[in-house]
Every structure is written in structure tokens, then in C-alpha cells.
């Protein structure tokens, strides 16, 4: 044994390969993390451009810029790309960079699979986006692809969509397995589960959710494939099938999926708020408990997306009560963050600004979520802009703000350079104001009765749609500034220390900034 270890010794300090092959063949968690993050940013811009098409069309009543069929393709691809291409890969990228460094491991447990799980993603999105150029156009049935609109009545490109979803699912499952195996087997000596940083905890829970539900999504799209090409009737009422079955299967995946996109954000926010309050997190174990309960509850609330499909009273009541229950652990988290700030010693660097905005705006999204849980009221809210406002509040100033907070927080560690604090704050304020201008009025137009997924609308919604569109373009443009700041930081800047932030704690802050290509080749001791 010892002979084997010694023979590898001189390999420990080799750096990355040169040129393009470094990125194609890399098995290094840091490189793969970087690939994921850049890929997700690219998808963020593509999905964002589609959002701009949507908002431009909605600037005024009447059809001006696109036709309804293309509008439907835009809203479908916008949703799919933002969820599967932007938010999820960004969190996987953060996990790649941070989980090994936080648990004191030299790399992810399954480095070659790590390479595979990234490199199949560009193909998945190439297939999906290529459908835009096919006869009949891209998928046009919404990111929720309800059958039979997505089967019997779908454009021919639906088959490519199905394969694309399969590839994305495979990538996510591999990524999740990798995270779980790394966390379970490669923690430094002394790091018990209840000593793990919260970001690691949040990802461990997320990874289990992914493994549980991605196969369900794969099952749903496979049934669609069978209905379309092999004469089955899973979802075709005329053949004895059940269109509502599709929705049950889809949302059994879909609801945990929502938490997949927010749990890592809870981890990130906990780190940042504690660091910049210079105070330990108020309730570490209650945070772990709250995240685990949210994850478990996520499996028994799916039908709150389906209150209007005509379920029996007992089912409606069960899903209403279960959904309301989620407010309890969510409240615990918010209270914890506030209690962490209380009597702290707070400074407002860019990551902290984004984290605070996350807490406030995610909570607003939580409030509208609680309102949506009230079934009789949901009969009015369902499928209106109120819902659009709700999930954009939890996803844009929720998930995406947390990702930006994470980038500002850890980029000095990744690159060894401090970002430009003035520009960072400018980016924050532009994003913060414009995101609210975009999405807050959507609550009102939703309550006033504007349905979602409408390319055109009645005149009473005109004013606030105009405001919302103006906000959306401001938000979109602000993200170019983000790109500029990141590029500037990668190229140079004030050198960062190992600890970077005064209040930062954790193993990743004990290594150099930037860290060596291989960190923790000898495991650190955690007391």
C-alpha cells in the first residue's frame, strides 16, 4: 500500500493541462465547477434573451413583435432553459467548486463521471435549441408540457425535446450521485455530519431529492414518447388513458424540483449572513432540521399545482394543509437568518447585499406561496400572473440572487483577486430595483385577472405590463455588468488573502487564494 502511495507522490503538484484539452478531458473538480458556472451563465443569457422577447411582446396590448405560436415557443424554452440550463447547473458548479474544499477532500469522489455529467449538458441544450429551426417550430406547450397538448397536439420537435430532457436528467442524476458519494465518504477526519458546513448539508439534501425525482421525470417523458410513437394511450383519453395522470407524475417530480432550485440557496445565504454579521449562525441544527423537513414535505404537496383539475374534496384539503405546513420550517429559516444578524457586527459588501435581498424577496415569494396554498383563493390565483410573480420572486431574487451572492463571495477564493466592490454594489442596486419593478406589478395584474401564458391581454392590464417590461429590460442589461465584473476579476485585481473575509470560517478559507490545482491531498484535521 505505502509503495503505491509513494509512487503517486510526485504527481501531486502537477497543474492543469494546456489548451482546450484541459477543459475537454478534465477530471478536476475546480475546472468542472468553472465549466458548469460558465455554461449556466451562457444559458442564463440565452433564456434571458427569450424573456426579453416575451416582455417586448407584452409591452403593449395587441400583437406587435411575434406571432402567438412563436410566443408559446419562447415561453416554453425560457422556462426549460432557465430551470435546467441556468439555475441547476449553476448550483452543480458551486457544489463542484465548494463541496470538496469544504469537507477537506482532494476532489469529487467520481471525477470521470463528473466530466461526463458536465459534457453531456451542452448536447442536451444543443438538441433542445435546434428544435427552433425545425419544421413546426420548437416545443410550444409550456415548460410543464401538459399532455395531450405535448403529445397528440405537439409539433414534431417534441421527440427532440424528450431526448434532451433525458440527457439533462442523466446529467443531474450523475451529478447528484457524485455529491452524495463525496460527502458520505470523503469528509476530513473529525468532520461529523453535524459539523458539515450548511452549504454541504443543503447540497446533500438536494442530491437526494434529485435522485428521487429525476427518474420520475424520465418516466413521464418516456410515456409521452410511447404515446406519440408507439401507439400507447397513457395520457390519451380517447384511448382509455388519463391526461390528469400526466400532471400527477409531472408534479411529483416538479415540486421537489422547485426545492432542488432553492435548498442550495439556503446553504449559501446562511454562510454569507453569518460571515458578514461576524457572528455564528443562530441555529445550525434547526437549519439542518428545517431543510430536511422541507425536503420531506416536498413529496406530499405536489397536487397544490393541480387544485383546479377536479380532485375530490379530501385530496384538496390534504394538499392544502400539507402545503401550509411548509411555512413552518421556512419560517424557522428566515427567523434564523434574522436572529443571526441581530446583535451582529454587520458590513454590507456585495455578497451580503445580495443575501439580504434574497431573504427579503424570497420571503415575499413565500408569502404569495402561502396565499396560493389556500385552495379557494387559488381558484382565483391559479394560472394568472400572480403565480408568475410568485415563482419569479422565489427563483430570480431567490435562487439567482443567491447564486450571484455566492459568486461574489467565493470569487476571490477561486481567482485570487478581489472583485471591484463599487461595481459589485452598482450591479446589486441595479438588479435589486429592476427585479422588483419587473415582478412586483405582476402580482397586481394577476390579481386583477390576467392569465399567464397569454401573448396578448385586455386593456386594463396595459399600464403595469409596460412597467414590468421596462423593469425586465433594465434587469437584463444589468447582467451584462455582472459579466464584465466577473471577467475583470478573473483577469486581475487586488490580491485576496486566504481568508478573504474577516468573518469567514470553514476549510475553504484555509487554503490559498486561488487554491492550488489540487487541494487537501492530505486531509486536514477537523476538531
Amino acid at each position: 500500500m505505502s509503495a503505491v502511495i509513494e509512487s503517486h507522490d510526485h504527481d501531486h503538484h502537477h497543474g492543469p493541462a494546456k489548451g482546450l484539452t484541459r477543459w475537454l478531458f478534465t477530471t478536476n473538480h475546480k475546472d468542472i465547477g468553472t465549466l458548469y458556472l460558465w455554461f449556466s451563465f451562457l444559458m442564463f443569457l440565452v433564456g434571458g434573451a427569450m424573456a426579453m422577447v416575451i416582455r417586448a411582446e407584452l409591452f403593449q396590448p395587441g400583437m406587435q413583435i411575434v406571432q402567438p405560436e412563436f410566443y408559446n415557443q419562447m415561453l416554453t424554452l425560457h422556462g426549460l432553459i432557465m430551470i435546467f440550463g441556468a439555475v441547476m447547473p449553476a448550483f452543480v458548479g458551486l457544489a463542484n467548486w465548494l463541496v470538496p474544499m469544504m469537507v477537506g477532500a482532494p476532489d469529487m469522489a467520481l471525477p470521470r463521471m463528473n466530466n461526463l455529467s458536465f459534457w453531456i449538458l451542452p448536447f442536451a441544450f444543443f438538441v433542445l435549441l435546434s428544435s427552433l429551426f425545425m419544421e413546426g417550430g420548437a416545443p410550444n406547450f409550456g415548460w410543464t408540457f401538459y399532455a395531450p397538448l405535448s403529445t397528440t397536439y405537439a409539433p414534431p420537435s417534441v421527440t427532440f425535446f424528450i431526448f434532451s430532457v433525458h440527457i439533462m436528467g442523466a446529467s443531474s442524476i450523475m451529478g447528484a450521485i457524485n455529491v452524495i458519494v463525496t460527502i458520505m465518504n470523503m469528509r476530513a477526519p473529525g468532520m461529523t455530519l453535524m459539523k458539515m458546513p450548511l452549504f454541504v448539508w443543503s447540497w446533500l439534501i438536494t442530491a437526494y431529492l434529485l435522485i428521487a425525482v429525476m427518474p420520475v421525470l424520465a418516466g413521464a417523458v418516456t410515456m409521452m414518447l410511447m404515446d406519440i410513437h408507439f401507439g400507447t394511450s397513457f395520457f390519451n383519453a380517447a384511448g382509455g388513458g388519463d391526461p390528469v395522470l400526466f400532471q400527477h407524475v409531472f408534479w411529483f417530480f416538479g415540486h421537489p424540483e422547485v426545492y432542488i432550485m432553492i435548498l442550495p440557496a439556503f446553504g449559501i445565504t446562511s454562510h454569507i449572513i453569518s460571515t458578514f454579521s461576524r457572528k455564528p449562525l443562530f441555529g445550525y441544527s434547526s437549519m439542518v432540521w428545517a431543510m430536511a423537513s422541507i425536503a420531506i414535505l416536498s413529496f406530499v404537496v405536489w397536487a397544490h399545482h393541480m387544485f383546479t383539475v377536479g380532485m375530490p374534496l379530501a385530496a384538496e384539503l390534504f394538499f392544502m394543509w400539507a402545503t401550509m405546513l411548509i411555512a413552518v420550517p421556512t419560517g424557522v429559516k428566515v427567523f434564523n437568518w434574522v436572529a443571526t444578524m441581530f446583535k451582529g457586527s454587520i458590513t454590507y459588501e456585495t455578497p451580503m447585499l445580495f443575501a439580504i435581498a434574497f431573504v427579503v424577496l424570497f420571503t415575499i415569494g413565500g408569502f404569495s406561496g402561502l396565499m396560493l396554498a389556500i385552495t379557494p383563493a387559488d381558484f382565483q390565483y391559479h394560472d394568472t400572473y400572480f403565480v408568475v410573480a410568485h415563482f419569479h420572486y422565489v427563483l430570480v431574487p431567490g435562487a439567482i440572487f443567491s447564486i450571484m451572492a455566492a459568486v461574489y463571495y467565493w470569487i476571490p477564493k477561486w481567482t485570487g483577486n478581489m472583485y471591484d466592490e463599487r461595481l459589485g454594489r452598482l450591479h446589486f442596486w441595479l438588479s435589486f430595483v429592476s427585479v422588483n419593478v419587473t415582478f412586483f406589478p405582476q402580482h397586481w395584474i394577476g390579481l386583477a385577472g390576467m392569465p399567464r401564458r397569454y401573448p396578448d391581454y385586455a386593456l386594463q392590464f396595459a399600464d403595469w405590463n409596460m412597467v414590468s417590461t421596462a423593469g425586465a429590460f433594465a434587469f437584463g442589461l444589468s447582467q451584462i455588468l455582472f459579466l464584465f465584473i466577473v471577467l475583470k476579476t478573473v483577469r486581475g485585481g487586488k490580491k485576496a488573502t486566504s481568508q478573504v473575509w474577516e468573518g469567514a470560517e470553514g476549510l475553504e478559507w484555509t487554503v490559498d487564494s486561488p487554491p492550488a490545482y489540487h487541494t487537501f491531498t492530505t486531509p486536514p484535521k477537523v476538531s
Binding site: 397536439y153 383519453a237 436572529a339 391559479h382 399567464r452 385586455a458
Partner: protein, 382 residues
Amino acid sequence: MKLSNFAKFLVLSSLLVAPIFGWADWNALNMTEGATEVSKKVFDLHMLIFWICVVIGVVVFGVMFYSMYAFTKKKNPNPSTFHDNTKIEILWTVIPFVILVVMAIPATNVLKEIYNDEEGDVNIQVVGYQWKWQYKYLEDGINFFSNLSTDQDEIYNKIPKGEHYLLEVDEPVVIPVGKKVRFLITANDVIHSWWVPDFAIKQDAIPGFINTAWTIVDEPGLYRGNCTELCGKNHGFMPIVVRAVEQSEYDEWVSGKKQAAFELAQLTEKDWSVEELVSNGESVYLKNCAACHQVSGQGIPGIFPALAGSEIVLNNKSRNIEILMEGVQGAAMQSFANQLSEVDIASVITYTRRSWGNSEKGDGEVVVPKEILEYKSNNQKS
């Protein structure tokens, strides 16, 4: 510097909130109270949960903003290190739970009331189609389709938009006031959803399922709603208009509809000239066919086939009739046998066979209403 950021935050967030108070018409920003007892209860639930959220928000954000203001590094250079306090943690788990229970009780009661949907005085079957609604009065045998009546030129900004832009139909569904009206909601093709905000009714229309909803409307008037489940290209263009009228007016309307149905049947027997068929066919085509096959008859490549130059439309009259009557299996083309009268089917076929140069390229044969009647009797399903 830190403080000025906080000041900025306050100014900006109040700027964001200010429009709520400045806006003249609060109703344009909130849920409608609606026109029924149930819709008012739903509105009350909405306002209750809204104010609960506001109060929680004020308390939580209050503590948070206070901490942001009072515990900056400048004012509080030495952070305290406290963490974990079981008493507080139990308290902030139990209090929200109690609030939720308080909220769940009225919500449960209202939901139970909504679900009390035994037989109504008037029972109307509502069927969603791409992209229109069909209403069948189960007691009186009345049956008609309700289409968007907004001019395409309004939608494409060629003429000014009317007051009820996109919320107007050619034929509203008529109900009597003060009576329990039950809707049996289903769909013919994809899933739609029938929503009338003033009644707080939103029920999905799902092929193969019949969902029920009911209402009792007190005030006569026009109540407008929308389709709220993405159902394809013209999802945004299939509104709902309900006209609630006094019982006497309702009875008159019912007998009027029955008389009209009788007259329509008479029309089938009449001898139709080609010009009459083509001109009637054009209006039928624009209402029922143009959404997919386009006004130009060119369709949309890959999804909706072109009728201009189509072999079937040019030279295969019997298949042409068959498609209209039976639909096309596995495609978006539906059967129009029960949607359109014999006269309308005959004239729309004639129209397509004689438009866009089809009559020059193909046989241009005319279809008369009697042929459709013949087809029906030959293909009567047992």
C-alpha cells in the same frame, strides 16, 4: 458609507411601494370581490391571508431592518456570539403553526361549500375546443359555440381597440339570476380551463373527464372570463362571457333559441346557390378554420396543412367531407359534425374548394347541405 447604503435602500424600497398608494383605482390591482356569495367569501379569505402575511412581514422585516440599522460594524464593533435558544426556537415554530390553523379553518369551510355541487336548476355542459367554448343546455337541448368576436385588425393594431378588447364573444352563455346554475366542464381536444373571476369559478376542462362547478348570480349583467390553461396557439383568444338575465328574459331567450334551431333545420332543405354557399362559407371559415389553416389557406408548415392546392380539397370531395365530419385521428383536426350545422359544413367545404385558385387547379365541385345530411344518415353510428 454603510449608512448611506441603507438610506438608499429605504428610499428605493419606498419608491417601489409608493405607487400602491398613488394609484387611483385600487380595484384594478386587486382580486375582484365578484358577484356571488361564494366569490365574496373567497375574496375575504384572500384579504385575510394577505393581511396575515403583511403583519408577519412587518414584524420579521422590522426586526431585520432594525438589526441592519443598529448592528453595523461601526455601531457595534464587537458582535455577540449567542446562538441556539430552545425557548425562542419552540416559540417561532409554534406561533406560525397556530396562525396556520387559524387560517386553515375558514379556508376549509369555504372549500366545502364550493364542493357542494348537487344538481342545479339549470345544467349547462361546457366543452373546451381549440379555441372556442361550446355550451349545451342539458334540459332545453340548446347547443351553440361561443367565439372571440374581437376583430383581427384590433389585435394587429390596424384599428383602435374596443373597450372589451379580447373579452368579447359572438354569443355569450345565458343564465337566469337567482337560480343554481351547474356547469359540467369538459374538453374535446387538449386541456382548457374555464374561469369566470366574478363567480370564483376556475375548473379545468379535461378530455375524458367532467368537472363540475356551480354558481348563483344575483345581479343581471355581463360577466367576463378567460381560458386559463395553455391550450395552444390561440390560448389567449378564447374568452368567456356569461350574460345573467331575469328569469322571464331567460325563458324568452330559450324559446328564441329553439325557434332558431328549427329554422336552421329548414334551411338544410333549401336549394343553395354557389354564391350563397361561398359567401356563407367564408364567414364560417374565418371563424372556425382560419386560426390553423390561415386566412390564406396556406396553413403553417409542419403543424397545420395547407388547404390551398391540397389534393383532397382539389379533387377528392368525398374524403373532404369525411375529414370535416370525422376529424383526423392523432392530429389537431377535430370533427365538426356536431359543431357546425349542415349548411355551414357544406358551405365551408364549398368555400375552400373554390378559393385561393383551387377551383382552377381542381374540380371545384360544390357541396350542398343535403349531401351532409346524406352522409350523416349513411354513417349513423349505432
